[in-house]
């Protein structure tokens, strides 16, 4: 098998905030009945975290689980363990109407670090990014420019952005442009 690489192979940009390609990240799409206890247990076993609430993301040392839609979760796990985790989910949820797919290599992920991350994201997205509306522990699916993305904050100085890999470079360039030094409106920071 060929060697797996991330969309921008660890590219880093230092502007008003630091933008990094976070490297290989295991991602699993899990669709099913989110109110089911068996599914919650399987999510806990796979990621080590509890079922996220509507619009939320729960992160832990082992992984994270994010709410994508009323019947879909995004599970973040180790890239190397993604296939094995899918197999475990399939086994644990055998008999239920579910779908678990390893989508790790279909996605790109970036991290934004610095005080102005809310301002950088707000340049491309119509989402309300004020600290009252968008809190730590929530994941917002929205657009950045014209591209679908999802982002969440781990702290006020640390955000993650997920998008399709095919547009990874475009999103990275867009974020780079938004994070040019001296261009932050400092509306949120």
């Amino acid at each position: 098998m060929s060697k797996a690489v991330s969309a921008l192979q660890g590219a880093v940009f230092k502007g008003s905030v630091t933008i990094k390609d976070t490297g290989l990240q295991g991602m699993i799409t899990l669709r099913g009945d989110l109110s089911s206890d068996i599914l919650a247990k399987a999510v806990k076993a796979a990621t080590g975290v509890a079922m996220p609430k509507v619009g939320g993301i729960n992160s832990g040392a082992k992984g994270a689980a994010a709410w994508m839609s009323p019947d879909e979760l995004l599970l973040l796990v180790d890239h190397a363990k993604a296939d094995a985790t899918v197999a475990k989910l399939d086994k644990a949820l055998a008999g239920s109407h579910i779908l678990a797919v390893n989508v790790s290599d279909a996605r790109a992920m970036f991290s934004l670090e610095g005080a102005g991350i809310r301002d950088v994201l707000a340049k491309g997205s119509p989402a309300n990014l004020s600290s009252d509306a968008f809190k730590i522990g929530e994941m917002r699916r929205t657009r950045l420019g014209q591209l679908p993305v999802a982002f969440w904050l781990s702290s006020e100085k640390d955000a993650s952005v997920v998008c399709f890999r095919s547009v990874g470079e475009h999103v990275f360039n867009g974020l780079k442009n938004a994070a040019q030094k001296g261009t932050s409106p400092k509306y949120y920071s």
Partner: protein, 108 residues
């Protein structure tokens, strides 16, 4: 700018994050229906000046279809509700009636 709250994810979504789906609560007539019914289903729309029920899809978010009630004249949004229904919820209809006493009510 139109802001609609998605009833599935609770996100207050901007118009540009949504896809419009036209008038809501249209009765579907299939291939075995009369020409008149089929024509009504395909082409006839209310296009009111005032209260209107619409379908929207949270395209850049959770991807679900939902319904919204708004005024086509003032762009006031009365409310949004889930699409798993044949008619608007009673509470929403009462709310609109209070705001628009002359409104004839929901007609399918």
């Amino acid at each position: 700018m139109l802001l609609l709250t998605c009833p599935y994810c609770g996100v207050e979504a901007d118009e540009t994050e949504l896809t419009p789906g036209g008038e809501a609560h249209i009765t579907r007539f299939g291939a075995d229906s009369s020409d008149n019914d089929f024509e009504t289903y395909l082409f006839m729309r209310k296009n009111p000046k005032g209260v209107h029920f619409e379908r929207w899809r949270h395209a850049y978010g959770c991807g679900k279809w939902f319904h919204a009630a708004r005024c086509t004249m003032t762009l006031e949004v009365f409310g949004t509700y889930k699409a798993q229904t044949f008619e608007p919820p009673k509470a929403l209809i009462n709310k609109i009636k209070k705001k628009r006493p002359n409104w004839e009510g929901f007609v399918k």
